[in-house]
Symmetry: C2
Subunit: 599 residues, 2 copies
């Protein structure tokens, strides 16, 4: 309830504004036109004087403009993303001017199929023109101009909201400083189109649908409820469904042997269906799912890479491991297309059991990610400096990452020329890249598998892709970075040849570091004790080492020769000293740094 919630935006009003007058209809993608168009919207927080703090939220299929707070003191539930939006919350209304509108075709105040068709004075129903995501975004742009917003710091949306975010970044690049795309897709999968089609079939099959003109009579509630039930199954993961309901029966331990809803999950679906028909319009459901089905950036722009050619926003793409409706692979397609364009893109695949609905249920990880990304977008130097702890940065200090020892960062930094582009594969929390950005003004990109470290990089404002380097980097073009760093990684991957070849393809120079297995202590230990060596740089037992390949400087020399790789620099190192080993390097060096290249 409103009074119990201290971090709530409190009582808010959904306002309505006319953005298209009857005299000047809006041309739609379908070729038809539409007028008038009214937009229902809410705002929270205050627009800054310089107008640089607007955050636009795009809602999903069944959402509306009421994102946060309460429309009336009697409301039992707040807006649909209240866990994320409010004073002190991840999208902080003390800092930002947060706005959201019900999209075109919706049924919560914005013009849609249940609005009155001025030419018949009856609700449009199926005479409403088919609309697309592009049309929705165009109407949002008109609305923002009307309410005095001249650019947005971030556009954020999940699911179908994420599709709108993508369209925003493509259609209005100058207007959008950053784009946060959650659990979305460049186009629906075949399976999702199929589910949408079955849902629409259920509505159209309901005799109450009456060709869409059901407004004076019983609405097609059973059809709409069935469509909603199908949707609900796809929004949850099987894991969540199992945890929530299992095979529990509603009322008894024993089967009733009839066809009434009996399993708890059946009752849940009945309830969700019932709640939905009370607040949603069947025609809107048809139009909105059709707009989703039609959304296809590949088709519209010839290729996904082509679609993003003119985008200039910073991008944050987020997916959820257990989402099977908009699976992570679809988000990765977006990331690949943005990478291929050299755009500023970060990607995080949040580990969660909640399925597609996680974007409504994951305030912690997702909230931090959004908050940090927006902050770093607005105050990039501050984000970079704060995290790099400039004051007490000790360049000779050995940095130890969990699970592996990193070669001295200072040496690698010394090898990199200013104003170049650098990809750090396995970049950890981004310290090396942050230092390089501050000291040498490089263009940075990081790759890291660990979710926590990805978050740390986002906080610094470093473009970071959550990715397993073992899978290759197919969508980075050849020689697209001046330097690629492969630090203390080559001996930990399953297929060193594949990984090394891949980084040599995309980097003009590749800086590799690894522990030297032929270090004299290792040799002597094996020779004299007959046991697997344990040294400073090889500190693990044979059975718990992350190092799954063992190589020496000589081994790496042969490896480079075999692969036709040029060794530009070969720097054998002691454990803690920056000065290279001068004599009998393969015997005295504990580790090595190589600068390599392949034409």
């Amino acid at each position: 309830m409103v009074n119990e919630d201290k971090n709530s935006v409190g009582i808010v009003e959904t306002r309505t504004i006319r953005v298209i007058e009857p005299a000047n209809p809006l041309p739609l993608v379908s070729g038809k036109t539409l007028a008038p168009i009214d937009v229902a919207y809410e705002t929270y927080g205050t627009l800054s004087k310089s107008g640089d703090n607007t955050i636009l939220i795009c809602h999903a299929l069944s959402g509306n403009a009421h994102v946060a707070g309460y429309n009336s003191p009697k409301d039992e539930k707040p807006g649909w993303w209240d866990i994320m939006v409010g004073p002190g919350k991840a999208i902080d209304t003390n800092k930002y001017f947060v706005v959201c509108s019900n999209f075109l075709g919706g049924c919560s105040g914005t013009t849609g199929p249940c609005s009155i068709n001025p030419s018949t004075a009856k609700p449009y129903g199926l005479t409403f023109p088919i609309i697309t995501i592009t049309d929705m975004v165009r109407v949002q742009k008109l609305w923002l101009e009307k309410i005095g917003v001249k650019n947005v710091l971030a556009v954020i949306g999940g699911s179908m909201g994420g599709m709108q975010v993508l369209q925003w970044a493509i259609d209005y690049p100058d207007f959008v400083k950053s784009a946060i795309v959650i659990a979305a897709s460049p186009r629906l999968s075949t399976q999702s189109i199929a589910f949408d089609a079955v849902g629409r079939n259920a509505i159209l099959a309901d005799p109450n649908f009456a060709g869409g003109q059901y407004h004076d009579q019983d609405a097609p509630d059973r059809g709409l409820a069935i469509a909603r039930m199908i949707g609900h199954i796809t929004y949850l993961s099987e894991h969540t469904m199992h945890k929530k309901f299992g095979r529990t029966l509603r009322a008894s331990e024993n089967y009733k042997y009839d066809f009434n809803s009996e399993f708890a999950v059946e009752t849940y679906l009945d309830y969700q269906g019932q709640r939905f028909v009370e607040r949603f319009d069947a025609n809107s459901y048809l139009y909105i799912t059709k707009a989703m089905d039609y959304f296809d950036l590949k088709k519209d722009y010839g290729s996904l890479t082509g679609a993003f050619e003119k985008a200039i926003s910073r991008f944050l793409i987020v997916s959820f491991t257990s989402d099977w409706l908009f699976p992570p692979a679809q988000s990765k397609e977006l990331v690949d297309a943005l990478l291929a364009n050299g755009k500023d893109v970060s990607y995080c695949n949040i580990n969660t059991p909640y399925g597609h609905d996680a974007f409504l249920l994951e305030p912690d990880t997702l909230g931090n990610l959004i908050n940090d990304f927006i902050h770093a977008t607005r105050h990039p130097q501050e984000a970079l400096a704060a995290q790099a702890c400039l004051a007490d940065r000790d360049r000779t200090k050995k940095v130890t990452m969990p699970g592996r020892a990193r070669v001295d960062y200072a040496l690698i930094e010394s090898l990199i020329k200013p104003n170049t582009s650098v990809l750090d594969t396995g970049c950890g929390d981004g310290e090396l890249l942050a230092n390089l950005m501050l000291d040498k003004n490089i263009t940075a990109k990081g790759i890291e598998l660990d979710e926590k470290l990805v978050l740390a990089c986002v906080k610094r404002g470093i473009p970071i892709i959550q990715h397993d380097i073992e899978l290759g980097l197919a969508n980075c073009s050849d020689k697209s970075f001046d330097y690629v760093i492969l630090s203390q990684t080559v001996q930990t991957v399953k297929d060193p040849e594949k990984v090394f070849s891949e980084v040599l393809r995309i980097g003009k120079k590749v800086i590799v570091s690894f522990p030297n297995f032929a270090y004299w202590k290792a040799r002597c230990q094996l020779l004299l004790s007959g046991k697997a060596p344990i040294t400073g740089e090889l500190p693990f037992h044979w059975y718990n080492s992350p190092n799954i390949h063992f190589l020496s400087l000589k081994d790496f020399d042969s490896f480079c020769e075999k692969l036709g790789v040029t060794i530009e620099k070969r720097i054998p190192l002691h454990k803690n000293r920056l000065s290279p080993v001068k004599l009998a390097a393969n015997f005295f060096a504990e580790q090595a740094v190589y600068v390599t290249s392949r034409p």
Copy 2:
């Protein structure tokens, strides 16, 4: 067409037989009774004199008794599993007497809700009693007795057919020599119940349903078609849907901007829905899906392990990697419960993109598996001997498995006492186990990850579980095997401590073999050349070795000490000689075999 198909059973007739007379109704699980009951069935091939060659096929939700061949020369399509059943096919009608009946509650000849209710002289409709899988199997048993079948060599079924197979093996253990359970489950997942519930909702919401009494009027075709569409989406993997339809449009390259079916996948679903209503009864759909929802071996028997206590059949459990309706994890639950009971069970997770429907589309791998499993069930000694190539078995010959060198099998064989139980983890094609079965009469069980090798073991008649040993063996009880063999594996797994501890838990004795990393040639190579050693037992380069841990005899000694493991025997070996290394073993041995145990 019938004439073009040389391996077809040709024209077959669906016959009907009365198994329950009006005077003696069948008591059902629900507490109600039913009479009369007629069963529609087909048979192919000839029952052998000894009556030992019957194969019972149980059909799935939408199937019927017409498995193979053609009911009429005009039929365009043969029976639903014609790819699998026929002369010379995987289920060879030249060898076996193959039988299938339409199940109770169906709509293809066996008594069901569209049969005439004798007390009203009208079709039952919703007055038909709720039936369960147990009831269906009971009726099948009565039918088999009527047609003179006294036992079955194999019961086979996929999906809901697999549920019936499980119930057969539980209810009539003496009757069933082997049970082949394909893409099934001990109970539906929450998600599957939800999909079933939505399908039933669509039928019940159709105004033509008329409380189930639609027989003299228009049937609830739209509702039934929607239920079928939902089903179809769940039977296919997203991958298959994408390959088959993608986002292709039916008629044009451009969108039509209306609500007619437009994407190819929509047209496909329309077609499938339409075809289904022509041949299926809506009431049957309700009753059959309810029977599936109610099937729950855990609930019925207290636990899944309890369910199989009295089963004595050989079991073959098969799942498909891309099946998300009956995912492999559910088959694994069955396997675990059977393992915990010490039953003769084999498991194969067939790698296929076809989803749940793979059981209708995978004649090659699945066919071989079924054919070989049934043959080995009927002729165990023949299967074992044929494959072990007894004639030219050379016990001192080095056997090299793809990707790894196996220690001499003869030595391990010599360590194992007759009439014991042996688990071979990573058993390859089962040669060692086959020899032990033949020579020492052991009870064998194999674990192997590679699908081809699993098939080879099934062909020999060895109970084989396709499983990654790294995941542990939680459902094998403590000390449930006299010996567990871990041959040339400990150095290739990610977590040797976990794997070794697990095999020590379930085996009274554990026989471990591995290459010796402290072999003198390896030591000298590292010392003198400063490169990663390459020897006979360590023949790989550092970057392509399957060995991801390196250990010596001394390392393993320390490892055993750390883990509190007793070393009963320690046999250092040369590469190709059976006689142990006598002096300075850690220096001169290329490999080692240990017999270990932990109380």
